[in-house]
Symmetry: none
Subunit: 386 residues, 2 copies
DNA sequence: ATATCTTATGAATCCCATG
DNA sequence: GCATGGGATTCATAAGATA
């Protein structure tokens, strides 16, 4: 359960589309609008929004089913809203909603868009073409991503956010540099953020126990977005609200929200969720501490760093067993090859072995434990603030 | 025996452009070509390259000078080669060199392109438009990035690499999954890589002590790129060679290289650097072999070898299901009979099952996985075959 | 009650040799 | 070309079940 989540009985107003008239401020502010975002945004006043967070469909283009090694089926995102006929169709869709966003965004406002490699390049290009000016791209490093079950690619362990101003010449942009630095143990906040995916109590479930939305984002991610680039009282727009993560965090942080969601069921869940959120007290906003990455140093890094060369020999403390280092970070002893742990276990006839505490390398006549070499890399990385 | 192709008796000589004739293999292989990459690549044979690494100009669009808090001036990238009049000009340039790369890339080959938020969205979109199929995007997390001196943005602490195949339907792509996993202490390699930037002794300096190239990449980055997606003997092309990081690492790892560089000074530094590199010994270049590459041993061979007798009982690890071994190498459980895989799937009610990892046989009171028995046959085969 | 084991699952562009 | 089938493949986290 998120530290930030609290319960309260606050109602949020609903808005429906019976009239084509433009909304007056009280109508659309702090509301969830059901409908297509381009149509909905046309009814908002021009230059009325301080911050936009958009989580559009990714256009995943998945093939057949995917099963885990235990043969269980992966619950893929194959909803209608994520299907596009071509890149051209996706581009047209993207251009339309970005243009609508651009109209309602204040000249001092900024926009965040999240995506994956399936769509983020197209989104970024179109943003640049429309005149948005990229301020940063941010990497959400997932602490617990889904693995690559078939072993055919690198684990897709991140998503990308683009943060941009309306124009290249934009002035007066909100960036709470000091707050983010304080949040980050007095180090500048970097462009890579390590955060867990949305699971557990934070994940909205139906009465049947199924997830309500296939791509619910973690509140911690929105917390950083809103804390860094908006002020209390600002208006935060989400054109693809889903189950309302951005609006819930906006309300908690004392920002106004406007959410547009095409799916009425998602919107209902979002309204209920937002209603249960209470604005945090002014002095209570700094409760979340950033999750720091402990620098895990794989054995291969020792080779990359030149501390060990391919072809070098490793041995145990008594020189009873010897192994050859290979360029890919594996080692080989006789017919056995694999990680320092696997080969260490094998030569000793054991089930398991901590290779770091077993293998040594000869340096100027003396044996040096490879864990000692790892320590050197660790201290360099720690000094760099990683 | 080394899988390495014997290196032809060709010096890594210079190639010049006095004739429009196509190069013959010995001319361009393991060479640095001075010239525009589009023109140079047109002279290479079609489908002749296994891997491309491209570090194109980023189109940084910098404004005025940047100074640190102590008023020292930051040595920015403002070379002519990084200046483009517009996004359109940059796109045209990008399309041209990507098309030229596509022609020389083998159908089984893959391409890596590195960039930052200034250019990577345009590069990625154009790659998709040209038919390249994105396999992963990789984040190079810089352990020691330059801080944001003005405190106006997040520290730009990463760069993005796109890894793509030539076509969506590409087969036979090289991805040394097991090697990367061994490298990473037996965990799948993720899409975010933490590596220091290129500094210290690795950074090429002029006699005057200035850095030779403003964007020299660390060898560790190229190490991962080449180790993961190429084999010894492969041909690695770099259309923007700069000071030759990719070629130097390729040579060290027993890959052939071709580098194209427009600037003669950079090319000279690259040649000198490549010449000083030594190829790693053969036994250091071997990688962990995937199980698919091991000789196929049918289940019946275990019966032929006497490791299992017809009539023996197989069971799973918890002894929940039992099957009887038959003389023809099939097994039977109740009314179901067939291969170890089919019957394993059937008794569990699953679509598929790897029978080798499911069935055990009782040996002196203990359960032994039949995959372990297969391993014994494989080592005997290896001993006999070698 | 506590510790341990088992199961479930997450924005996924996820096999390949043989006939 | 396509169909077939052997058999290869996972990490972090949370929640529930068992000891």
């Amino acid at each position: 359960m998120s530290v930030l989540r609290q319960r309260a009985a606050v109602s949020s107003s609903e808005v429906s589309f019976h009239s084509p008239a433009a909304f007056s401020a009280p109508d659309w502010l702090d509301s969830v609008i059901v409908g297509d975002c381009v149509a909905a945004l046309e009814r908002l006043p021009k230059a009325s929004v301080d911050l936009i967070f958009a989580d559009p469909p990714y256009n995943l283009q998945l093939g057949g089913d995917l099963t885990r090694p235990d043969q269980s089926k992966v619950d893929a995102v194959n909803d209608d809203w994520d299907r596009f006929d071509s890149f051209e169709a996706y581009d047209a869709f993207t251009r339309a909603w970005l243009l609508a966003c651009r109209r309602v965004l204040k000249p001092t406002g900024t926009i965040w868009v999240i995506g994956s490699y399936h769509n983020i390049f197209r989104v970024g290009s179109i943003m640049q073409d429309l005149g948005f000016w990229v301020l940063n791209d941010i990497i959400w490093r997932k602490a617990n991503p889904m693995p690559n079950f078939k072993g055919k690619r690198f684990t897709n362990a991140h998503e990308t956010l683009i943060w941009a101003s309306r124009d290249r010449e934009a002035k007066g942009i909100t960036f709470n540099y000091e707050a983010m630095k304080a949040f980050n143990d007095d180090l500048q906040m970097r462009s890579d953020w390590l955060l867990p995916i949305c699971t557990g109590g934070e994940r909205l479930k139906t009465a049947g126990g199924d997830k309500v939305h296939p791509t619910q984002k973690p509140e911690a991610l929105l917390w950083r977005v809103l804390m860094s680039s908006s002020k209390p009282g600002d208006v935060v727009l989400d054109p693809f609200l889903g189950t309302g993560t951005s609006a819930a965090v906006a309300k908690r942080l004392g920002r106004h929200y406007v959410g547009v969601e095409r799916d009425g069921t998602y919107a209902d869940f979002a309204r209920e969720r937002i209603a249960s959120v209470e604005r945090a007290p002014d002095d209570g906003l700094a409760v979340v501490t950033p999750r720091r990455a402990e620098p895990r140093v794989p054995f291969g890094s020792l080779i990359e760093a030149g501390l060990i060369q391919p072809g070098d020999r490793l041995c145990d403390a008594r020189r009873r067993h010897v192994a050859t280092v290979r360029a890919d970070g594996s080692i080989a002893a006789g017919a056995v090859a694999g990680s320092i742990h696997k080969v260490g276990a094998s030569v000793q006839g054991l089930e398991a072995c901590n290779g770091w505490a077993y293998w040594h390398v000869e340096k100027q006549g003396a044996l040096v434990l490879i864990d000692e070499l790892r320590g050197r890399i660790r201290s360099e990385l720690a000094a760099a603030g990683a």
